[in-house]
């Protein structure tokens, strides 16, 4: 008889967690279950409650209601240190009067570790983060990237159960941000420590995460893999938040054309998938991602308004009966403003949302 190994509880679990500051409700009914070793990102615009959620997991904020569990244990009443989490802050929060070595070793000092052991651990972490040559410098004498690595080193040095990242790259320039993103992803692959990451940058979230929780007005709108979030957004909000250039959303009404469902957008009628999801007269919103607009084929007539080459791709903004539409083409497009083109959109590529609820149909 083979025995089934017992399933481990999630590394981080939030059950109907809510947070209010006075009369302002910042988080409502947040439910999340993050498995051990996962890299999960809380993604959303400023003020959506993502940092507050992270702070509640860290123990830096108390939740107003709901349960926070780490490895199956309720931790609502525990202090940050008792939760065994490490955190990297948006502004690094390095102690300005301490050297790099002292910054990294501070947490070990607070735990009463012996000096020799602290020194050994700090040296090892500094070597792995290429900080060995700056150990005696103060934070003000470091570059932004080095400061960020010190902040990561401070989190790494005590080998926590959980890493929390609060927009750690938002103060870095674009090139360094991409580099640090790759470093953090590699670090996670190497160490496999459960990580909860907060960002408002959807590209960052897509590139780094195993799963993403998209937050809006204090709620989790969708929790899924980057592919699920991008290809099958649960709501109109998620669809519009993810993707660059943004998805085009156009209101329309479902009709029956030759016995098949279709949607009227301005003067145009576009066929919808005939899988029984739609009923005539239904008010919907059609979402079309730029890469799903194929130029040079189809019966959608449009004129070119703007061409924006960005290197490997060109974004072409089109005007047509139904409004405006963006198409993404490979390489440098030779199209000229005012030029007439024909475009095609496959019914299967269209994302259809209920106009009233915003839910994907």
């Amino acid at each position: 008889m083979t025995s089934v190994p017992p399933r481990l509880p999630p590394a981080i679990e939030l059950r109907r967690v809510a947070k209010s500051f006075g009369t302002v409700q910042v988080c409502r009914d947040v439910d999340l279950a993050i498995e051990t070793g996962e890299f999960v990102t809380l993604l959303g615009p400023s003020g959506c409650g993502k940092t507050t959620t992270l702070n509640m997991v860290a123990g830096l904020e108390d939740s107003t209601s709901g349960d926070i569990l780490l490895a199956g244990r309720r931790v609502n009443e525990l202090s940050p240190v008792e939760r065994d989490v490490a955190m990297v802050f948006q502004n690094y929060a390095l102690y300005p009067h301490m050297t790099v070595a002292e910054n990294i070793g501070f947490t070990l000092r607070m735990r009463g570790m012996k000096r020799a052991e602290i020194a050994a651990r700090v040296t090892a972490i500094a070597a792995s983060l290429e900080l060995s040559h700056v150990l005696e410098r103060l934070p003000a004498q470091l570059s932004g990237g080095q400061q960020q690595r010190v902040a990561i080193g401070r989190a790494l040095v005590r080998e926590p159960r959980i890493f929390l990242f609060d927009e750690p790259f938002s103060n870095l320039d674009a090139a360094l941000r991409v580099k640090m993103r790759a470093e953090v992803k590699q670090l996670h692959q190497r160490l496999g420590v459960t990580s909860l990451f907060v960002t408002h940058d959807q590209e960052e979230a897509m590139s780094i995460s195993d799963r993403i929780a998209v937050m809006n007005r204090g709620r989790v709108e969708q929790f899924g893999t980057p592919e699920e979030i991008y290809a099958r957004p649960a709501t109109r909000y998620v669809a519009s938040f993810i993707g660059n250039p943004q998805i085009e959303l156009m209101p329309g009404t479902v009709e029956a054309a030759d016995g098949r469902p279709a949607v009227r957008l301005g003067a145009q009628v576009l066929p919808l998938p005939g899988d029984g999801r739609f009923r005539p007269g239904q008010k919907v919103e059609i979402g079309i991602r730029p890469e799903h607009v194929r130029l040079g084929a189809g019966n959608l007539s449009a004129s070119v308004r703007l061409v924006q080459p960005v290197g490997p791709l060109s974004h072409v903004v089109l005007d047509w009966d139904g409004g405006s539409l963006t198409a993404t083409l490979p390489g440098f497009s030779r199209l000229q403003p005012g030029e007439r083109v024909s475009a095609a959109i496959s019914p299967d590529d269209m994302l259809v949302f209920d106009q009233e609820t915003g839910l994907r149909l």
């Binding site: 940050p80 802050f89 929060a93 501070f106 607070m110 735990r111 401070r154």
Partner: protein
Amino acid sequence: MSYALYRRGGPGLRLVTIVGLVLFVVWSAAPVVWLILSSLLQQKALIARPPDLSPANLTLDNFVTVVASAAALGRGILNSLIVALFSTAVALALGAPAAYALARLSVPRANAIAFLVLATQMLPSIAIAIPLFLVISRIGLIDNVFSLGVVYLSFNLPIVIWILRGFFLGIPAGLEKAAAIDGAGVLRTFWHIVLPISIPPLGAAAVFAFVEAWNEFFFALILTRQSAQTVPLVIAAFAGQYQTVFGQMMAAALISVVPVIVLAVVFRDWIVRGFADGMMKG
């Protein structure tokens, strides 16, 4: 007027600025220059009308006399040092944690308490002089340096709390959060993180409190007799009933300001940074 405006302005504006600055320097420096000059002049030349400032009248006799009769001045300086150091040290030791609590911890009605602390400074000295004298004489501590130190502490503590609270309000919250994650509680955060980064405002508050205590005259006059007399009283004693020995008085005054000047020069950067940080928020 900003430096940029000064640079952009024409010659007229520059001239007005320079003249204004020169007048300000003269206004500020004149008493010090007069103090130095009069400490170096013989009594006869000093009280002549106008004072006879010829080099022949310059002498170090006043200093020699003051230093030779050093017992009174020496005791005054020692008393002032004890009183100023005691009230400064205790004001910092009590004021820093109090200011931190009022600035950063969830103390109910922290702002109201902070204003109450400041309100204690709004009473004129004369209003509390008699009750204070009665209390201190009842407990038998008239002419005692430590009772004078405690009185000065009651003036210095609110100021220290206000200077430091202004600085603590500006400390980024991330530092405290990072310390909490690193395993430091409130006390260890205060000791290991907050205090070391607060050295400039602590220095500024210390200098302020020290100078206040060093220069104080009124309460020293009513609460001391002989043995606990501080420097300002010793200097005032040079003004007798029948004769005031101005030169010796000025020499003693000059000697007494040396510690304050040394303090100000040594801690100049801290004072400027400390007050700038402390006064901008509050």
